[in-house]
């Protein structure tokens, strides 16, 4: 698809629940070119993790996926298991949210690194070991040789996430999906891990999808941002454009919810009131309308489509966009 490495076309994910079908991802289109980075931002439960699982084909067994996930010219959703297996880990890699649970507790770090390398690259054990040591060095693990013989519980959380990143990068993937890679970590470690990811992404010329609930994380670290709400992409723009001139009230609310250093102590944080809508009971109108301070009559009756803004590559789904040209001029 016009040279894009990843092209998600009309992807929807439905999960059966006792209360009816839950639409976790609702007809999402996204594209990502080789070597570029895309931030996917949204609250918990907005479908961003399900979207990443849909790309990786790691959805729960009962989930139903429709649409196409074109990766490197092939539709992952229709790929046979053996070809998918060869692709995963080699061209398509992932870093999960919680490094405390994503590494196998009973296997050494060396085993978990080397098994990926030996599965996909034609390397013998000593060469795989050398490569593992290089990878651990690259992600900033001191004394990498000793680490290989250790188990995950002997490392700190930040250390484990570095190891998970080393595993993900071990076969030079074309696309790395980082699913909230710093949410489970101490604040002091978060920036280090994000900088490490950004550095390695540039160095290895990987494409990267950075999934987060924190708009602050994607600022300056991604080329493009997609904001998700209730399973849909509600705003998409090149990162600088988004921060300069966001059109979605939801994006604005997300940004306002980030605590800032310059605010006076004890100022209440402008958190987004209410909760995302029940995904098993879709609303007829805009899913954000019940929580939106700009919402008017039409917002409750019809769903706004994703439409192009004045800047190239900027799309938004809102009847009452903010910061439009006329507002700014006024």
């Amino acid at each position: 698809m016009n040279g894009a490495l990843l092209s998600i076309q009309d992807v929807a994910v439905e999960l059966p629940t006792p209360r009816g079908n839950l639409r976790a991802v609702d007809h999402v289109d996204l594209t990502l070119e080789a070597g570029r980075t895309l931030g996917v931002v949204g609250e918990s439960g907005c479908g961003k993790t399900m979207l990443s699982r849909a790309i990786l084909q790691l959805l729960p067994k009962k989930a139903k996926l429709t649409g196409r996930v074109m990766f490197d010219g092939r539709d992952l959703a229709r790929l046979d298991p053996e070809s998918l297996r060869e692709l995963r880990g080699r061209d398509l890699a992932v870093v999960f949210q919680d490094p405390m649970t994503s590494l196998n507790p009973v296997l050494t770090i060396g085993t978990q690194l080397m098994e990926t390398i030996q599965e996909h690259l034609e390397l013998d054990a000593p060469a795989a070991k050398r490569r593992s040591i290089d990878l651990l060095t690259a992600v900033g693990i001191p004394a990498p040789e000793q680490r290989l013989a250790q188990y995950p519980h002997q490392c700190s959380g930040g250390m484990r996430q570095r190891i998970a990143i080393a595993i993900a990068m071990s076969c030079e993937p074309k696309l790395l999906i980082a699913d909230e890679p710093t949410t489970a970590l101490d604040v002091t470690i978060q920036a280090q891990i994000l900088d490490l990811l950004a550095r390695e992404q540039r160095r290895r010329h990987m494409a990267m999808i950075l999934i987060t609930h924190d708009l602050g994380v994607v600022a300056g670290r991604t080329d493009e941002v997609a904001v998700m709400y209730a399973g849909r992409v509600v705003e998409r723009a090149p990162t600088p454009t988004l921060f300069k001139r966001m059109h979605m009230p939801y994006t604005e609310a997300l940004l306002a919810a980030i605590p800032k250093l310059e605010t006076a102590p004890h100022t209440p944080l402008p958190a987004i009131s209410g909760r995302p809508p029940d995904p098993t009971r879709p609303l007829p109108g805009c899913a954000f309308a019940p929580r939106c301070r700009y919402a008017a009559g039409r917002c409750h009756q019809a769903k706004p489509d994703l439409s192009a803004a004045e800047t190239a590559g900027h799309f938004y789904a809102c009847f009452h966009p903010i910061q439009m040209a006329e507002d700014v001029g006024a």
Binding site: L103, T116, E119, H120
Partner: protein, 316 residues
């Protein structure tokens, strides 16, 4: 690791003491005077009193317990008043039979149970899984004496492939020895594999939901490697426990199965001692068997540490 072993070994001391006390109490509190049992009902009271004195039966119970423990610690478990054999001789003679039976039964049980558990967990909820889980449940409710009789009927009476009862020592004729062991071991294994399968299956299903299994899939590993390397090891702790308990239990001999197949193992020794009221043998054998059980559990603890590095490093 050494620390861990020493700590576990220290735990063994109070457990073994409690075991010895219970064993002693069971034997002592059985109704009937041991002296009468030995001398018979027609014995004169003087003779009984003399024997009671010789055996220390006129001493208070706590004194008898302490002197028994003292003897045991010196390696003297006593001597049967019927056969004159010491407890250790009697056990040494029979334990190879029970151990061979136990090992064969466990091996057959694991060979049936483990692959079935993995196959079921990999396809949890499928028709195959439901059929096997139901089958295992049905097998669990079949008592050994029934499956023993059915197996004898099928393989010994109808097909005439295997002998129904008897025993030849392994050293004399290994092939004949194994032929005698097939049916009893199979009988025990039929009762063991359902338990093995059920616990491993459910642990494995839980493990397969873990994040690290998703990551293993995302790494593009082969399904066999995910099942056998990433999922089996962390799922096998309960399996090790029940295998250990089964082995511990079978060290004491499979009373019913050994009796049905006329195998001269520990189980038969115990049953015989109960029938003939041979309390010294009974008490000594129960103590040895219980100690074996406790030591088996110690070995299971050690295996946990081998399987899970977090236990080895004192994290869990």
């Amino acid at each position: 690791m050494l620390n861990f072993i020493v700590r576990r070994l220290i735990y063994l001391v109070p457990v073994l003491l409690a075991v010895s006390l219970l064993t002693f109490l069971i034997a002592s509190l059985l109704p009937g005077d041991l002296a009468y049992v030995i001398l018979g009902d027609q014995a004169t009271p003087e003779k009984v009193a003399a024997l009671r004195h010789d055996m220390g039966l006129d001493q208070p119970m706590w004194w008898r317990y302490l002197s028994w423990v003292g003897q045991v610690l010196q390696g003297d478990l006593g001597r049967s008043f019927r056969t004159g054999q010491t407890v250790l001789q009697a056990v040494a003679e029979r334990i190879p039979v029970s151990i061979e039976l136990m090992l064969l039964a466990e091996i057959i049980g694991l060979v049936i149970g483990v692959p079935l558990a993995i196959a079921c967990a990999a396809r949890a909820g499928s028709a195959f899984d439901r059929f096997m889980t139901g089958g295992a449940f049905a097998m669990l409710s079949v008592p050994s004496f029934l499956s023993a009789i059915l197996l004898i009927y099928l393989f010994a009476v109808e097909l005439r492939w295997l002998p129904a009862t008897g025993y030849v020592p392994l050293t004399e004729d290994p092939i004949a020895n194994l032929r005698f062991f097939v049916l009893p071991a199979l009988t025990l294994a039929l009762a063991e594999w359902p338990g093995i399968m059920r616990v491993l299956r459910s642990d494995m299903i839980a493990t397969l939901q873990e994040d690290y299994i998703s990551l293993a899939k995302a790494k593009g590993l082969k399904p066999s490697r995910i099942l056998f390397v990433h999922a089996l090891k962390p799922s096998s702790l309960t399996l090790v426990t029940i295998t250990g308990i089964n082995i511990g239990r079978l060290i004491g001999g499979a009373l019913i199965v050994e009796s049905i197949f006329a195998l001269p193992g520990i189980g038969r020794l115990l049953v015989g001692a109960i029938y003939t009221r041979d309390l010294i043998i009974l008490q000594g054998v129960v103590l040895l068997v219980a100690s074996g059980f406790v030591i088996m559990n110690f070995i299971v603890d050690m295996l946990y540490a081998v399987l899970d590095p977090r236990i080895r490093h004192g994290h869990a």
